[in-house]
Amino acid sequence: MNEIVLYSVLSIGGLGTLMAIVLYIVAQRFKVIEDPRIDTVEERLPGANCGGCGYAGCRNFAEEIVKAGSLDGFNCPPGGSETMKEIADALGLEAEEQEPMVAVVRCSGSLEAAPPKTRFEGLNTCAFAHSLYAGRSGCPYGCLGEGDCVVSCAFDAMYMDKDTGLPVIIEENCVACGACVKACPRDIIELRKKGKKSRRIFVSCINKEKGGVARKNCKVACIGCGKCVKECKFDAITLEDNLAYIDFNKCTLCRKCPPVCPTGAIHEVNLPPRKVKEKKEEDSKEA
């Protein structure tokens, strides 16, 4: 061995030692105090930054949870209750039991049921169409069919059905983030409880016009006749402004209301087919 080895070991080793000392001092001086729990929470979030929780991204959501110290009022729609439970476990908190939700399109005014009276031309967004005119069928509450909701969906859970001209929600992909609810200028889309085995009953119409007027534009509109209200034993259905609404918290899926609806505006989803013969469609008890 010679002096080269000695010199290099000395110089580099000395430099390393010096640096370590400097590093230590700097580290002591500028300690950043950030709650490590924020990272803990963020790690467990899906990281889609979809904004479904109402905060600016997952990091912000995590910060707010840690700041609040409890999970009340916090929910991550894409992650669902599983994620919230994980966060709760990690933070040692109680998670609110969140029932899974799903987006529901409350309009059945397909091209057939509500035939178009006009041809729309121009910027192909619902926002513009809504500001311009009442809609292709003349129903001022119905779907405009330009697909703003589909564009807004970050989870590939929606598409426009070419034949009906209405958006369709793919339940498996829907995380109930609510982006489409915000995107729809007519508030047609609603977040409803997913229900057991994804079974749901809801009024697929939001038209508040009088029965006759609504009917003129659309065959399947809710005409506000109130038959379903009378039929419901659980006070789940309310009638306001010529429009029936089923409260998903009270509905027991007894399936009494759909058959009595004269226009077929009440939809059943994922329920087994009825054994009893349905004759409601021919029954024109009320025009």
Binding site: P116, T118, R119, F120, E121, G122, L123, L132, Y133
Partner: protein
Amino acid sequence: MSLLTVSGSPHVHADESVRKIMYGVLISLVPAMLVSFYFFGLGAIIVTLTAVVSCVVFEFLIQKYLIKGPVTICDGSAIITGVLLAFNVPSNLPLWIVVVGSFVAIGMGKMTFGGLGKNPFNPALVGRVFMMISFPVQMTTWPKPIPLNTQLTDVVTGPTALAVVKDGVGRGEKVSELLPKVPEYMDLFIGNMGGSLGEISAIALILGGLYMLVRKIITWHIPVSYIGSVFIFTGILWWVNPDIYVDPVFHLITGGLMLGAIYMATDMVTSPMTPKGMLIFGIGCGVLTVVIRVFGAYPEGVSFAILIMNAFVPIIDRAFKPKRFGEEVKNG
């Protein structure tokens, strides 16, 4: 009764379309094309045809098979790119190089960015600069003009007027000694000189420019500010030392300045949209052109100047907004 159409106002539209604009530009290119056919003969015609055909074919192939979108070769923009590309090369350029240049212009300069309207750089210039860097020998061998030449081979070659002067000055000769070696100014003006296909005749290019002005395809802002700033800048240099700097008129009528100022810099897609921005853009091009010509390594600076300024267009558009109506009250 048939369905009524509902749409937002306005319900009428001007008799104006992208296609009309593009074919207007093509028409305005005809005089310069005829001049180059006259001076460079058959070679010029073949180079132009090759460039146009290959540009259109490449655009078609890329749109149809690579992007798999609608084919829009009929809007004429690929034809313009082809013609302008041909205008920027010597008439004796090997045809395979022309084809490569067309591919670069369309594929790299235009389609990579998404096609018409989205390219930040002028496609023809991208193709030109690519060829310039890749094939410097072929791209700087300029044929001497022979009126109505039908021969394809054995053309006499020589340097452009700008190159003669730049080389000479570089060796320490005086401008006054060099000027006799280049064609007369009148010849330069008409186009009787060596150079790229379309850049030779200032008069034909100005004619085409006037036509575009009348048709309102371009506005006066870019050409005037470009040519004006070159004139003023070179004028100052000339005034400082006429021995090493050529007079401004010489700069105006040589080396593709007219072609650049009238056709290349005014390309709608790659130039600013507001009049104020256009003036800044033109002045920037002018100053850069002179800087590259006089102080740079290349005798010719128009292509690089315009490409560099193209990159600044988004910033110019942001920085120079039009003065809004009623923004600042000056009653009188």
